[in-house]
C-alpha cells in the first residue's frame, strides 16, 4: 500500500524510477518469495525428516520395549531355572531328583511326557518318566530293558552323536515313541571313575567309555505337535550340565551310602556269626542275614550236592530237599574262587548251557537271576553261598564285593566253629578220659585199711582232674599199718602217671616181700625205681613213709624230702622232727651208691595218738593278697582241734584253709590225712575150749549182725574164725600146750577185724604157696584150713613170724 502512494506523487521518471524500483522490488520480492519457498521446502523437508525421526524413535522405543519384555521373560525363566537348579542340587536321592526334574521341567515346558534314562556300563541304571494323566504309561515301561533304548534309532542317535535331537513331527511305533508326535532329546554324560555299581565295559558300538554314564533327557508331545523355540531348547540345554552334576552327586552319594550300608551289614553279620561258635547257628544266621541284605528271593548254603541252610523270602518256596546241582557252576569260567553272577538264567544262551536235569531243577526253583559266592579256605573249596532272584536282576559290583567279603567272614567263622567243635570234642574226650583217669587214680590211691585198727580221714582234691599227690595206707601185717604220702613234681596227667607207677611199685613191694615193714628200705626201693624211671624223664617225688605197729605202739618212718607230719600226743601238738633235714626226694640220688641214704626213725605212737600228714598244696595255697599260708598256720589250727576226732581235724583244716584263701583258686593238689590209733583190746582166750569158742563165735556173729551184716554171711564167718582158732590151737600150742592164745576183734559198720596171736613158732607164710580152695584136691583129707581162710576173708595177714594173724571180713 505504501508503494502505490509513492507512484501518485512522483513523475514518470519518477515512474520509471518507480518502475525500476518496482521491478527491483518485484525482483526482491521474487527473490524473497523464492527464498521463502526454499525455506518452506526446507521446512517441509525438516518436518518430514522430523516425522521420520519420530517414527523411527517410536519404532525404536517399541523395539526396545519388546526387547525389554523378552529380556524380562528370559530373566524370569532363568530365574526359575536357577531356582530349580538350586532345588535339584539340594537332593541326594537319585529317584527324587529324577522325579523332581522330570515333573518340574515337563510341567514348565508344557510337555505331555518328560523322562530321563541313564545307562551305565551297558546296563540300564535307571529310567524315570513323568507324564500328564492322559499319557501315563507307567505299567508299560516299568521293566524296560537297556536294549530298548540302545535299539531305538532316536535314542541311539542321541547316544552316538552325543547331542540333542529335535523331532517336531514324528510317527513311530515301538514302546518308547508310540503315539509321540514331537520328541526332543538331550544327551547326558557323566564321567566319573568312582562309580562302581556294575561291571563296566567300553561300549564300542555306541562309543561309550567304561567310566561313563550316558543318558537322555527327553520331552514327548503326544496330544499335538509342538514347535520348540530355540531359546527353550537352549535353556534346557543349559540345564543339562547342572542336572548331570546333580545326578553324579546323587550317584556318588548312593554308592557311598550303599557301601556304608554294606560295611555296616558286614560288620553286623561278622559280629553275629562270630559271636557264636555253634556251626548250625552260624549257617542259619548267614543265610538269613545275607538273604535279607541282598534282598534275594532265596539264599542258601550249598555243600557237595545238598543245601544245609536256606532263607526264603515271603512267598518263595524251599528247594532244600530237591536241589542236587550247583547250576551256577556251569557259568564258572575257571576253577578260581570267583563270584559267579548270572543276570538272566533263562536267556537262550545261558539256559542252553544246562543239562536237561539242571534245566528242570532251575525251572522248578523259579530263579531268574542268581549269584554264587565260593566258600573256600586255604585253597580248598568248602561250599557256596547262593542267591536266587525271582525277577531279572543285575548284580552290582558292590553286591558281589559285599558277598565276597561276607563269604570270607562266613568261612572263617565256619572254620573256627569246626575247629572249636573239634577242639571241644577233643576236650570233652580228654576231659572224659581225665575224669576216668581221676576215678582210676582215686581208686588207685588210698589203700586197703578199713577204719578198724585206726581211724583215718582223708581230704584229697586234685588241682587238675588228675593229681601228682598220692598216698596209701595199708595193713602190711596184722596191726602193722604202712602209711605212704608223697607228691610228684608237677601236676596233671604226667605227674599222675608217675604216682601210678610209684604206687604200683609200692604195692608190689607190699604184696611180695617184707620190704614194706622197713621204712628206710621201702623208701630206698622207691627211690631206686623212680631213678630208673628218670632215665627217660626228669620227674622226682617227695615221700614220707611210716609203719605203725599198733601192737607195740611204735611208729617207724623215713622221709624223702616230704613235709614232716604233725603228731598229736598227750594233748601236745608237735611237728615230727621239727625242722630237721627231711631227706632227699625220690629219684634224685642212687641210694645204692650212698651209704644210709635214708634213715629210719622211731617214736612211740600209742592208742589215742594222732598224726596229720599233708602235701605242699596245703602250705603253697595262695592267699588273696598273693602270699602263702603262714608257716605256723597248721600248728595253730591243730592246737584248736587236737581233741577232736580225725574226721573233724581234716574237715577243720580244709575249711579254715578255704576261709583263709578266700576266692583264690586252688594253687596245687591238696591232700591231708589224719590218723588216730584206736587199737582194740587183745586178751587171752582158751581157744582149745569148744564151749568158749562157741560162745565167742556166737558173740562175734551177734555183734556183726548188729552192725548190719547180712544173715547169710554168718555161716562163712563162723567157719573162717573156727578155722583160724583151730590153726592157732593146732600149731601154736603144739609145742607149748600151756601157752596162751591171745585174741582181739573189732566190729564196725561193714567190717570185722580179728587178731589172733599164738605162742607157736609161726606159720611160714612167706614160703607158703598160696593155695585156694579150688585148687585143693577133693579127695585130700586135710589142707583146707588156709585155703578156707583165703576163700572166706577179704584180707588175711600175718606178722613176720607168722604167729600173729589178721583177718578182715567186709559186708
Amino acid at each position: 500500500m505504501s508503494s502505490k502512494k509513492q507512484a501518485e506523487d512522483l513523475d514518470f521518471d519518477k515512474l520509471s524510477q518507480l518502475e525500476d524500483r518496482i521491478i527491483e522490488l518485484e525482483q526482491k520480492l521474487n527473490s524473497e518469495r523464492k527464498l521463502n519457498e526454499e525455506k518452506t521446502a526446507m521446512m517441509r523437508k525438516t518436518i518430514a525428516e522430523t516425522e521420520d525421526l519420530a517414527k523411527h524413535l517410536q519404532n525404536t522405543t517399541l523395539a526396545l520395549i519388546q526387547e525389554r519384555q523378552i529380556a524380562n521373560a528370559r530373566a524370569e525363566k532363568e530365574k526359575l531355572v536357577n531356582k530349580w537348579i538350586e532345588k535339584i542340587n539340594s537332593s541326594f536321592d537319585l529317584n527324587s531328583l529324577l522325579k523332581h526334574a522330570t515333573s518340574e521341567l515337563g510341567r514348565f515346558f508344557k510337555s505331555d511326557r518328560c523322562g530321563i534314562v541313564l545307562i551305565e556300563g551297558g546296563h540300564l541304571l535307571t529310567h524315570y518318566e513323568t507324564s500328564t494323566k492322559d499319557f501315563n504309561r507307567e505299567d508299560m515301561i516299568q521293566n524296560l530293558d537297556v536294549d530298548e533304548f540302545r535299539s531305538n534309532k532316536h535314542f541311539r542317535k542321541i547316544f552316538k552323536t552325543k547331542s540333542r535331537i529335535v523331532l517336531d513331527e514324528i510317527s513311530e511305533e515301538g514302546i518308547l515313541l508310540d503315539g509321540v508326535k514331537t520328541f526332543v532329546g538331550f544327551f547326558i554324560s557323566i564321567k566319573k571313575e568312582a562309580f562302581d555299581g556294575f561291571d563296566r565295559y567300553h561300549d564300542t558300538e555306541l562309543e561309550i567309555s567304561a567310566n561313563e554314564i550316558v543318558g537322555a533327557f527327553y520331552f514327548q508331545q503326544c496330544s499335538n505337535k509342538k514347535s520348540w523355540q530355540d531359546k527353550d531348547l537352549d535353556l534346557i540345554q543349559s540345564i543339562i550340565t547342572p542336572l548331570s552334576t546333580a545326578i553324579e552327586k546323587t550317584l556318588l552319594y548312593r554308592d557311598a551310602r550303599k557301601r556304608t550300608e554294606y560295611a555296616e551289614l558286614l560288620n553286623s553279620l561278622t559280629t553275629q556269626i562270630r559271636s557264636s561258635l555253634n556251626l548250625s547257628e552260624i549257617l542259619a544266621r548267614t543265610v538269613n542275614e545275607l538273604g535279607l541284605a541282598i534282598k534275594a528271593s532265596r539264599c542258601f548254603l550249598y555243600f557237595d550236592g545238598y543245601i544245609s541252610d536256606e532263607y526264603c523270602e515271603a512267598g518263595v518256596h524251599s528247594i532244600a530237599d530237591t536241589t542236587r546241582f550247583l547250576i551256577l557252576d556251569k557259568f564258572r569260567e575257571d576253577q578260581s574262587f570267583q563270584v559267579i553272577s548270572v543276570d538272566n538264567l533263562l536267556s537262550e544262551e545261558n539256559f542252553s548251557r544246562l543239562t536237561a536235569e539242571e534245566q528242570e531243577e532251575l525251572l522248578a526253583s523259579k530263579a531268574v537271576s542268581a549269584l554264587a559266592c565260593p566258600l573256600h579256605f586255604q585253597g580248598i573249596m568248602q561250599g557256596w553261598i547262593v542267591f536266587h532272584s525271582y525277577r531279572r536282576r543285575q548284580w552290582t559290583r558292590d553286591e558281589k564285593n559285599f558277598i565276597e567279603a561276607a563269604g570270607s567272614q562266613v568261612i572263617v567263622a565256619m572254620t573256627q566253629s569246626r575247629m572249636y567243635e573239634k577242639l571241644n570234642s577233643y576236650q570233652e574226650k580228654l576231659s572224659r578220659e581225665l575224669k576216668q583217669a581221676a576215678r582210676v587214680q582215686t581208686s588207685l590211691i588210698g589203700g586197703d585199711v578199713f577204719d578198724v585198727n585206726i581211724e583215718t580221714s582223708v581230704f584229697y582234691k586234685a588241682h587238675s582232674n588228675v593229681s601228682g599227690d598220692f598216698y596209701w595206707v595199708a595193713e602190711l601185717a596184722p596191726d602193722k599199718i604202712g602209711v605212704l604220702i608223697g607228691d610228684v613234681s608237677g601236676k596233671g596227667p604226667a605227674a599222675a602217671l608217675l604216682t601210678g607207677y610209684l604206687l604200683g611199685e609200692f604195692n608190689s613191694a607190699i604184696a611180695n616181700s617184707a620190704l614194706a615193714w622197713f621204712p628206710d628200705k621201702m623208701i630206698s626201693f622207691l627211690c631206686q625205681s623212680i631213678l630208673y624211671q628218670n632215665s627217660s624223664s626228669d620227674f622226682y617225688a617227695t615221700a614220707w613213709y611210716g609203719v605203725m605197729d599198733l601192737y607195740e605202739g611204735k611208729l617207724r618212718y623215713t622221709n624223702a624230702g616230704h613235709l614232716n607230719p604233725y603228731i598229736i600226743q598227750n594233748e601236745t601238738v608237735y611237728k615230727l622232727d621239727g625242722d630237721k633235714d627231711s631227706g632227699v626226694p625220690l629219684g634224685l640220688i642212687n641210694p645204692k651208691e650212698i651209704e644210709e641214704a635214708y634213715e629210719a626213725r622211731e617214736i612211740d605212737f600209742r592208742r589215742g595218738d594222732k598224726m596229720v600228714l599233708f602235701t605242699d598244696g596245703v602250705l603253697d595255697q595262695k592267699m588273696p593278697d598273693g602270699s602263702f599260708v603262714p608257716k605256723d598256720w597248721i600248728y595253730k589250727i591243730l592246737q584248736n582241734v587236737k581233741d577232736r576226732d580225725v574226721k573233724d581235724i581234716t574237715y577243720e583244716l580244709n575249711e579254715k584253709l578255704n576261709a583263709l584263701s578266700g576266692t583264690s583258686p586252688l594253687t596245687d593238689d591238696r591232700l591231708m590225712i589224719s590218723l588216730e590209733q584206736v587199737y582194740f583190746d587183745i586178751y587171752d582166750f582158751a581157744a582149745d575150749d569148744p564151749k568158749a569158742t562157741s560162745e565167742l563165735l556166737d558173740k562175734i556173729v551177734r555183734d556183726c549182725l548188729e552192725q548190719d551184716m547180712p544173715a547169710n554171711k554168718q555161716l562163712n564167718l563162723r567157719l573162717g574164725i573156727t578155722e583160724a582158732l583151730t590153726n592157732a590151737v593146732r600149731y601154736g600150742l603144739k609145742r607149748n600146750p600151756y601157752g596162751k592164745i591171745r585174741i582181739g576183734y573189732c566190729v564196725k559198720k561193714g567190717a570185722f577185724k580179728m587178731t589172733i596171736i599164738d605162742p607157736g613158732p609161726g606159720f611160714n607164710w612167706q614160703v607158703y604157696n598160696y593155695t585156694f580152695i579150688d585148687e585143693v584136691r577133693f579127695d585130700n583129707e586135710g589142707g583146707r584150713g588156709i585155703p578156707l581162710l583165703l576163700e572166706i576173708f577179704d584180707k588175711v595177714t600175718w606178722n613176720f613170724m607168722g604167729n600173729h594173724l589178721g583177718l578182715f571180713y567186709y559186708w
Binding site: D688, P690, S694, L715, N716, R718, L719, T722, E723, T726, V729, R730, I773, D774, V776, F778, D779, N780, E781, G782, R784, G785, L788, E791, I792
Partner: protein, 105 residues
Amino acid sequence: MLKLEIRKNDGQILELEVGGQLLYSDAEHFKETVLACLKEQSKVKVDCSDLSFLDSAGMGSFVRLWKECKMIGAELELYNVIDDVQSLLRIARLHQLTRIISKTS
C-alpha cells in the same frame, strides 16, 4: 559137741547118725569110730539131720570115710543134710563128693 551113733550095721548097710558139730577136736574120734565099723558093707548111710556145723577137719573126716567106702566098694550117702552144712560143704567144694540128700527133700 559131736553126737555120733551107729544105728545099724548088718553087714550090708552101715547106718550112722551124726549130730552137733563135727570139728577138729572130734574129727579123730569120728574117724576111729566109724572106720572101725566098716567091713564089707555095700552101703554106708549117714543121717546128718542133727549136724549143725563142721570145720575143715570135719570135712576131712567125711573125705576119709568116702575114701574108705570106695576101697570096700560101699556107697556113701549123706542124708537129711541141712542147708548150712550143705553150704559149708559147697564152700570147700565137697558138695559133689558123694550122694548128698538134703533134709527137706
